[in-house]
Amino acid sequence: MTATNDPIVLVQSLSLTYRSGFLGRRRLAALRDVDLRVDAGTLVGVVGPNGSGKSSLFRCLLGLEHPLAKQLAVHGKRPGARRSLVHLGYVSEGRLPLGRLTAREFLTLTGAIANRRPGDARARADTLLERVGLSQARDRAHAEFSTGMERRLAFANALFHEPQLLILDEPSSGMDPLGIEMVRTELIAHTARGGTAIVATHSLEALGPETFDELCVLLDGRVVTHGHPSEVLGIAGTRELRLTSVGEAAMPKIQRAIEALGGRVESDGPALRSLGSLLAEVQRRTKSSL
């Protein structure tokens, strides 16, 4: 996977209206003049309240809708075109089909559909199940999985063919902190390899805004703001410092120095890590001690 100058996703003036009711007379504008450019190697978060158009935008990018747009291209091709779909991994909001299959069988089937050799497909399935934390449950029918486990399997399914572009609709929904940390780590690794990801999420705080290169905020089908997380979420006139290797005794001096520069320290205390990163660290330690 290599980064090029061409955008992976290019959307200009995208609009989509759903019709419902008798003879489709009731109309609902799901997206209005949406512009989005996603370059290779970036991680874009799409956030907004329920019904703001996140899933509709993803459906347009997957070719499941036929919207009106000046330009709409994924990998330089029409969305839904086979050549763009084979480089794309998708996690939808719903459950995966064929619930009677075990997690391993399901991923092996995914491999067969992608024309992988059975041995390769099984090995890849085992690796991915290990990575998403489902290796203990790999021989269980995935219909028996909890929501969080199902999301982990959906994530593994999306990663199976090592796609260049990941489109993830609420990938961490229903997941425990460890699962959220796994998603965060995988997303960072994916972009580090030159891959691109677009993630719709309500768990921005859990995933960490700093994880994303860009945030796109949707409201009522419009993009209200778009940019680096510090630009989108930053509070004007404030800075946040994280100090390491500083003893308690040094704190009054630092505070006085800031006040002498005209600033004000609003809170002071130890920096907290996320529960997910704590659990992941404990898990790593336990594994290494065994």
Binding site: S15, L16, T17, Y18, R19, S20, G24, R27, A29, R59, L62, L64, E65, H66, P67, L68, R82, R83, S84, L85, V86, H87, L88, Y90, S92, L96, P97, L98, R100, L101, E105, T108, L109, T110, A112, I113, A114, N115, R116, R117, P118
Partner: protein
């Protein structure tokens, strides 16, 4: 064509269709049919079989109905509203290979379940009293004009007989000027027999049976010897030569194989219609189509009920039209159509 996707889809589909539940259901239905057939107290073993045997034919319909009804849940990517349609579509791979795989899995399941049904029918027949000896049946066709007056003849080409055989003659009766109630008298000149045999059809509609010994192929001649009685025609009726006895297991397997094209018609019809119909509508269509198929008198010689009742097994035969219809349905069923999964409109 992605052969791996085809094989994987076939395996997943077949595993679902030939599950423990499917085998148990077929066993339960076999047992139920057997119990229904033996519920009445019957005067003889032969009449017990006459009641029980044809009922077993229902069992041979079960695999086709089961596979046609479950095909869509076995591979839920066949038509609008199926849960795996989007998953498969977003894989960006050809849809033909998995559809072909699903159809192959369905057909393989059908074959496996037919073998299972043959085993069940054999086991039930072995256990029951009055089981007749099944024999191979060859349908023969007589030649000649209607036998209305004395001296008129019809001929019948008989194949070589390797062991003792029975010839069952079911002539067609016609209304004529002579007395209808009078018996029809005939002579039958059997190849390699010097003296013709006398044959009497006592009532209007009666059938006759002849015992034939080992002989080479030849022509059997039936001649009317009296003007009394109604006109008859063996050419318009049905003539069956019952030859070598067949072991019960083979007989049931042959019946199952003969029934396979009907089941194929049902399953491939379900596959072809699933492309366009939702699951609910399709189920209603299937419920309507199955009894219609069962009642169609297109190929009476392959009727499982009659063969079970008569304890005969005909050689399987397939009309070219039948093969063409099956092939067409199969091809149609493998074509993936795009179906939108949500209503939309561009602004």
């Amino acid at each position: 064509m992605n052969a791996r996707a085809t094989l994987a889809a076939a395996r997943v589909t077949m595993a679902h269709l030939v599950s423990g539940t499917a085998l148990a259901l077929h066993g339960f239905v076999a047992l139920a049919l057997w119990l229904v057939g033996t519920a009445r107290t019957l005067p003889s073993d032969a009449s017990a079989w006459a009641a029980r045997g044809p009922l077993l034919a229902l069992l041979f319909w079960l695999p086709g109905i089961w596979v046609a009804a479950k095909l869509r849940s076995a591979w839920p990517a066949l038509g609008p509203g199926d849960e795996a349609v989007r998953w498969l579509r977003l894989s960006g791979r050809t849809q033909v290979a998995p559809r072909l795989g699903a159809s192959l899995g369905g057909v393989a399941a059908l074959v496996a379940l037919h073998v299972w049904v043959a085993i069940l029918a054999s086991a039930g027949s072995v256990a029951g009293a009055g089981r007749p000896e099944f024999r191979r049946a060859i349908e023969l066709h007589a030649q000649g004009t209607i036998l209305a007056r004395a001296g008129q003849r019809q001929t019948l080409e008989i194949p070589a007989i390797r062991s003792r055989a029975r010839l069952r003659l079911e002539p067609r009766y016609f209304f004529g000027p002579s007395e209808l109630r009078a018996p029809v008298r005939l002579t039958v000149r059997v190849p390699e027999e010097a003296i013709p045999r006398k044959l009497r059809l006592p009532d209007f509609g009666a059938a006759a049976e002849l015992q034939l010994e080992r002989a080479d192929a030849g022509t059997l001649v039936i001649e009317r010897t009296s003007d009394r009685g109604p006109p008859v025609s063996f050419a318009r009726g049905r003539t069956v030569l019952r030859t070598n006895p067949i072991p019960l297991g083979w007989a049931m397997l042959a019946l199952a194989i003969q029934h396979l094209p009907w089941a194929l018609l049902l399953v491939l019809g379900a596959l072809a219609t699933s492309t366009l119909l939702g699951a609910g509508v399709q189920t209603i269509c299937l419920l309507g189509a199955t009894p219609t198929l069962a009642m169609l008198p297109l190929f009476p010689e392959t009727s499982a009920a009659r063969q079970l009742g008569e304890a005969t097994i005909s050689a399987p035969s397939l009309a070219p039209v039948f093969v063409s219809v099956i092939a067409a349905l199969w091809c149609l069923g493998c074509i993936p159509f795009g179906f939108p999964d949500r209503r939309f409109e561009a602004r």
